[in-house]
């Protein structure tokens, strides 16, 4: 592991790990609130949000894209509520209708507008381009101490690192609210905890994590990371505190193993080309969930209804 690793693999792996953790943390609460599909919805509505932000500003820049995606997530949440209430439609169906319609609108706008000069296309949106986020100026581990080389790190790395740190900080700060309101929303409201705003904030946080990750790793990985690591983590423990740690461990494992398998796996089997890192990371997270379902210590409890659990 030398210069080549630092140059070609270190930054994509770090970006993958930060993306995975930033998505997995809010994913824990989304799953416990039976809102796993919201993660899916968010990662889809991010696309129209980014496209509209690009059309308005004319540049592919981090801040407008984050704002656009967060705005789109808010619009989606409002639309989902509206469809649910006005149409008297069950929540899952309401989410499905809203996020597919918004995603499709995003694809249409993207096709109709001249984005050819910038790196914004449907394939990129789905798969990301983790493999291309390499550190050209790096000459080895010592480059980590070289300011000139550090200045040439791909922009995505500091961006996702900051977003990941914000997500971790929000999780710590609002831990008690999140725990009480996720377990018993009515009790939380009776205590004066603003549970509705908290739920909204959770979705917006997830949206910000999604868009920061989306830029680098695409929406496939975002969907997988919202659900697979937290779901596997739930099977490992009966304590929320431990579940959060497990989800971070599984997210990290998925990102590292997925990237390595995608880059080197095909070579081990005699194939010529690497496969998509995003696809492989998502697949590894799925395999981890599968293994957890088969072997984890608390696998019997997940998915049991209220009656069976009693």
């Amino acid at each position: 592991m030398g210069a080549e690793f630092v140059q070609f693999s270190l930054t994509p792996i770090l970006i993958g790990v930060f993306s995975a953790i930033a998505c997995a943390l809010p994913g824990n609460f989304l799953i416990l609130r039976r809102q796993a599909l919201i993660g899916d919805a968010i990662s889809h509505v991010v696309l129209p949000g980014i496209v509209v932000a690009f059309l308005v500003t004319g540049v592919v820049a981090a801040i407008p894209m984050l704002l656009g995606a967060a705005g789109a997530a808010i619009v989606a949440v409002i639309l989902i509520e509206a469809v649910k209430r006005l149409g008297n439609i069950e929540p899952g169906a309401a989410m499905g209708v809203v996020f597919t319609a918004m995603f499709a609108a995003g694809v249409l706008i993207l096709e109709q507008t001249d984005t050819s000069k910038v790196h914004l296309d449907v394939e990129h949106a789905l798969m990301g381009n983790l493999e291309s986020l390499i550190w050209f100026r790096a000459e080895g581990w010592h480059s980590l101490l070289d300011p000139a080389a550090l200045a040439t790190l791909p922009d995505e790395l500091p961006r996702i690192a900051v977003v990941c740190a914000i997500v971790v900080a929000l999780t710590l700060i609002f831990w008690r609210w999140l725990k009480i309101a996720t377990f018993d929303e009515g009790f939380a409201q009776a205590l004066g905890i603003p549970a509705t705003a908290l739920g909204f904030g959770l979705v917006v946080t997830a949206a910000v994590a999604a868009v920061a990750a989306f830029d680098a790793v695409g929406s496939i990985i975002v969907i997988a990371m919202f659900i697979c690591p937290p779901a596997a983590a739930r099977l490992m423990t009966n304590r929320l505190e431990h579940q959060i740690w497990w989800s971070a461990v599984f997210a990290t494992l998925s990102a590292v193993l997925g990237y390595v398998f995608a880059g080197y796996g095909p070579l081990w089997f005699g194939a010529q080309n690497a496969v998509s890192a995003a696809g492989m990371i998502a697949s590894v997270s799925g395999v981890i969930l599968g293994l957890a379902c088969l072997f984890a210590p608390h696998r019997n409890r997940v998915g049991v209804g209220k009656e069976e659990a009693a």
């Binding site: 996720t182 377990f183 205590l191 009966n238 304590r239 929320l240 409890r301």
Partner: protein
Amino acid sequence: MTTTQQPIVAAQDGRATRPAAVPTGAPLAVRGVTVSYGEKPAVFSVDATFPAEAMSAIIGPNGAGKSTLLKAALGVIPRLSGEVYVFGQPVEKARERIAYVPQRASVDWDFPTTVMDVVQMGLYRKVGLLGRLSGQMAARARDCLDRVGMADFSHRQIGQLSGGQQQRVFLARALAQDADLYLLDEPFAGVDAATERAIIDVLKLLKAEGKAVVAVHHDLSTVSDYFDHVFLINVRRIAEGPVSDTFTTGNLQATYGGRLAATHLDELPVAGGV
């Protein structure tokens, strides 16, 4: 117990413009509360006053708005109109004086948490968002679990409890809130006889300590045994007052309409006279 952090009488906060009908220092007073889920109101323009140092029951048929009234009083669901006073103050300003036991079926018992964790949620108003749980407060939580006979289960995952045990844990969490007004939503629904006995003993002790207890209750046969005061509701207020003169056949018929067979009424230990 030194729980009175805020003035009890509403008149002291200087709002002299309020009409005379508005409360009093009653533990819970509801004025003109209307709640609607769709176009049809679930609770319509209800006035209710629940007395101090008493156990009160909210009674009515299914869909009469019993739980809805309780939740609307707490602000758990929004009110279309009306006001709620707790010891004479708007409910929003008196949250630390209220303890709440929601319906057991309203939460997911598969949630990854322990019995002790749930009871400690009742300490939230004292601990705050970021405060540390002191050893003294942890001891309080253990004490509350002990009062409902669940001390041996503190490290159990909550999904591994029976329905009655879950209900006791909810009651312990309310005790940890150390309130003056206890609001319970169907505390006896689906629990075993031993648990029902244990819960009623704890509630009677609370009353003896001078607390007010208000429970949504559905078992008419135990009303006279358990409660002092009764509030009858069927979307609108039907009647309220001491069990001895309000829990009558006539009032029950007015509340339940044809849904309560006359033979059934005969078997109830209702107050004399129609």
